[in-house]
Symmetry: none
Subunit: 405 residues, 2 copies
């Protein structure tokens, strides 16, 4: 029998409250450059330390051994959807996160404003990280002039900083397509290419090429953001809802659109309004009044890791640890982890299995006094696929019945 | 190539002796309520300690992450049969364990005597846990009056306490069917229902309904056991034999019928006669004269866990440790583990990976001085699926050749 079917037959409804706290990119590595310790080891984390004493620890493989996930696969894995089975383009996630009500067949692209020189070479892939207001003005400019490409509707929505989203809505469109982002400076904008044998993707590539021909001249005088790059061009896939999969009514709290979008994609209700980590945890407590499960996303750890900033990552962990305290009395099962590692020495996402801690009355103590990568190595959960995390949370919540007599 | 096929091609016959000692529900958790230690940690276990110094340690997932197994799936997993692939109804297991020679097509049900009030409502699902002798007398009463339902033979066999087994033998029968046990007091006996689209199961459901109509009036004056509940109604599945799978001639030693039944289901020879743990190990030594592999089942650990009795679990472990000593000179490979965890704080089976220790001349020492859950976390075997245990035992017995040149 298929494992998912078995999990479904075992489901027990009860009124337990579950929280999944994701410190984005939490996992790290100890190298000579970091004094052989990780940010988790260096941080002062009284709440996490206390939790470690009633938790099962382990490490999780986000996708497959050696595979470094983007935020999309990282979160889908955490939510229990095998990222190799469910592929979601980043454009789709961003579009949903910005509040665009995607329809079946829509193709969405994540876009960055960038700087181009006179020869059309990308000189800054983020256009000097322009202000959100500049981004909004330029998006309004484009949206005002380009409403359709042939029979295809174009929806443009500004995000934070240099980021925006473009959605193509019309008949016969399909992703995924290759990025127009050359992924490094010194190269021109790449031509978006469809995979072989997809007429719909080929049509979509033509529409995008036409969009570039109309849009770039409009931005000609917009310094420094006189160009734009598209990434993660894809259509919305079909994903079974979180509620159906787990019998858990779930709310999602995040500051950045990407993570709200990911949570919405699996049917979580996004809770708006938080702009600080402290507010996120307050919102989580509030959400638990109406929901069984709350997902809280903390971004700072990943940003610090990307920047290679050890001290900033320590600070982000300490801030989350402090904010976490208020949530503890409200939940029966708490899992703390990352969606992947973003090690300071790597300055980017990585494949290193992220540490995970599952805390409940019946998790058991693994004998560790802290929640760190090396303590997690000694835990009872071993190294397991991230897609099982919520199964363990269900079990700890006594929401899974015995299998067989 | 399929892994099982590879294992088969690698098999080497030799005269090594293997023993699998299962302390039922062995795994436990350390919580505040247990003084942050587990029964294995608290127990005095000189034999297990000594063995730890020539053993590989690890933890095993009985079925899948977060799934709590019943004894059936727990043992099938231990014996190397994926419990998600081979499902065995509890009635089948109990029937075999009680010595009924099941035939292909037989449908077996586990039965409990229960107490019914005047309105037919279940007031005690175990009829006050009546004595085995009362159970035997009532089974004889039923068996004397009901031999056939139409063309279907009915076999009734008493078990321990309030438990018995009913087997339906005839053409065109099939399980599984839903339980007549309402699973809690205050409800009437449920109607046994077939799954959709099974004519054989539909026939079986009708036979069972007719059986109830004849049997309940016979029990009318039998207080407190004036009713009965059926569970795990299923037919005997086809399972490849242990001998064919591993090239090991296996004997099984257990006190309780369930475990003898499970071992017989995969073709182990059950050895009767033990009523104490000490006797079980004596029987094991004797069996090893004629068999390659012996499975010894110790029940006390699970019962203590179910009762939430820490001290009793410690005592059961110590008793097994003492009895184990005599077996050591007789075996080349010894594995000690549980079929699942039955943590004292949970008072029931659980999903927590159970500790396992595989001892042989070439197992290697993992540097641990004891066999406990937390020592097992640090072992070389990591956390692995229970279905691989016997493969590791074969390897330690030098019964698996090199794969490839």
């Amino acid at each position: 029998m298929n494992a998912d079917r078995v999990y479904n037959t075992l489901r027990i409804p009860n009124d337990s409250k579950l929280a999944l706290v994701v410190l984005d990119g939490l996992g790290d590595i100890a190298t000579q450059s970091t004094g052989f310790r990780t940010p988790l080891e260096a941080a002062r984390t009284p709440n996490l330390d206390m939790l470690a004493k009633r938790s099962a620890l382990g490490r999780m493989i986000p996708v497959a051994p050696g595979i470094t996930p983007g935020s999309g696969p990282g979160h889908l894995g955490l939510f229990g959807y095998d990222p190799l089975e469910y592929e979601v383009g980043r454009g789709v996630i961003e579009a949903i996160g910005l509040g665009i009500d995607l329809k079946h067949g829509d193709v969405a692209a994540r876009a960055n404003f960038c700087s181009l020189n006179a020869k059309g070479i990308v000189t800054d892939r983020r256009a000097g990280r322009i202000d959100t207001k500049v981004c909004e003005a330029q998006c309004a400019l484009l949206a005002g002039k380009i409403k359709k490409i042939g029979d295809v509707e174009v929806i443009i929505r500004a995000g934070k900083g240099h980021r925006f989203v473009v959605v193509f809505r019309g008949k016969g469109l399909e992703g995924p397509l290759s990025d127009s982002d050359p992924h490094r400076e010194g190269l021109p904008i790449a031509t978006v290419k469809p995979p072989a044998k997809s007429a719909k993707a080929a049509k979509t590539a033509k529409v995008i090429a036409a969009f570039y021909r109309q849009a770039l001249p409009l931005l000609k005088d917009c310094k420094p953001a006189n160009g734009f790059l598209l990434r993660g061009i894809a259509h919305q896939p079909k994903i079974p809802l979180f509620t159906e999969r787990y019998g858990l009514k779930a709310a999602a709290i995040a500051i950045y659109p990407m993570y709200k979008g990911l949570a919405q994609l699996v049917g979580m209700k996004k809770v708006e309004g938080s702009t600080t980590v402290q507010q996120e945890f307050e919102a989580a407590i509030d959400a638990l009044k109406a929901y069984d499960f709350v997902f809280v996303h903390v971004k700072g750890t990943d940003m610090a890791g990307e920047d290679g900033n050890f001290d900033a990552k320590v600070k982000a962990i300490e801030e989350a640890d402090a904010a976490l305290g208020q949530l503890l009395p409200e939940v029966d099962v708490l899992a703390v982890t990352g969606d992947h590692s973003t090690p300071v020495p790597v300055k980017g996402h990585s494949w290193h299995p992220q540490p995970v801690m599952i805390c409940s009355e019946i998790a058991g103590w693994d004998g560790q006094d802290r929640f760190t990568e090396r303590c997690a190595n000694l835990g009872s959960l071993g190294v397991f696929d991230a897609k099982y995390l919520i199964r363990y949370m269900q079990a700890n919540a006594k929401r899974l019945d015995k299998f067989g007599a």
